[in-house]
């Protein structure tokens, strides 16, 4: 048991994850990224609290192509995390576990996350 070189199961370089598995690990990755991004929300709030000049500087950063790119990634990560989170709540009430539903709900979830992101971004820019 102390051998740390023992093989992983399933072997992630060989095993092809089903779409539910891919969405599950993506949910976790987006969760970690969004948690790390909370520091940027504090930065935004600090810029507002510091006054007009720092607010204008923040606005310049946000309307730059890099600012917009970061915002698009942030919004997609947030919306995707929300959609998969809602699916976890459906699983929590004991529904949606058979194979057809798993694949179908995965596609709904991806579709909803893309549509909601596009709708929101069209309102923002």
């Amino acid at each position: 048991m102390s051998d740390r070189r023992r093989p992983l199961s399933p072997h992630l370089q060989v095993y092809r994850l089903p779409i539910t598995g891919l969405l599950s690990i993506s949910h976790r990755i987006t969760g970690v990224l969004l948690s790390l991004a909370l520091i940027s929300v504090v930065y935004v709030l600090a810029c507002i609290a510091l006054g007009d000049l720092s607010y204008q500087a923040l606005q310049q950063q946000m309307i730059s192509w890099l600012g917009k790119l970061i915002y698009v990634v942030f919004i997609y990560a947030l919306v995707f995390h929300l959609c998969h989170g809602l699916r976890h709540l459906i699983w929590d009430i004991g529904k949606g576990f058979n194979r057809n539903q798993l694949t179908r709900f995965s596609l709904y979830e991806l579709f909803a996350s893309v549509v909601l992101t596009i709708v929101w971004l069209s309102l923002s820019f």
Binding site: S35, V41, V42, A49, M62, L89
Partner: protein
Amino acid sequence: MKLCPHHFFQSATGHWKFQRITAVLLVPLSGWLLVLFQLLFNASYTDTLSWLSKPVNNIALILWMLTVCSHAILGIQVVLEDYVSDVSWRSRLNILNHVWFSLIALSGLICLQLVFWHGGL
């Protein structure tokens, strides 16, 4: 390992419930964050300040900040439990996790209060 039922974050059931409660609360509360971001792209400083100074918006963002940081602490704790095999490192990183997100929440609340009571600095 015996879990202490009085410590919410240490009890597996408490952790599970609190993760779900914060997730459900974040669905409506995150709407306020999105509106704030939309203002940042389009509105003047006066308009953003006036929106943030309304009690309903300020309180909603305070609640969002507290809820999202709790949700992040719980989520990162699970990630640490799954991927950090060394127990003492896992414990140290989990303390760092609690301290980091508590500081984030505190900093966010201070900024929101500065805007609410003083209209910024």
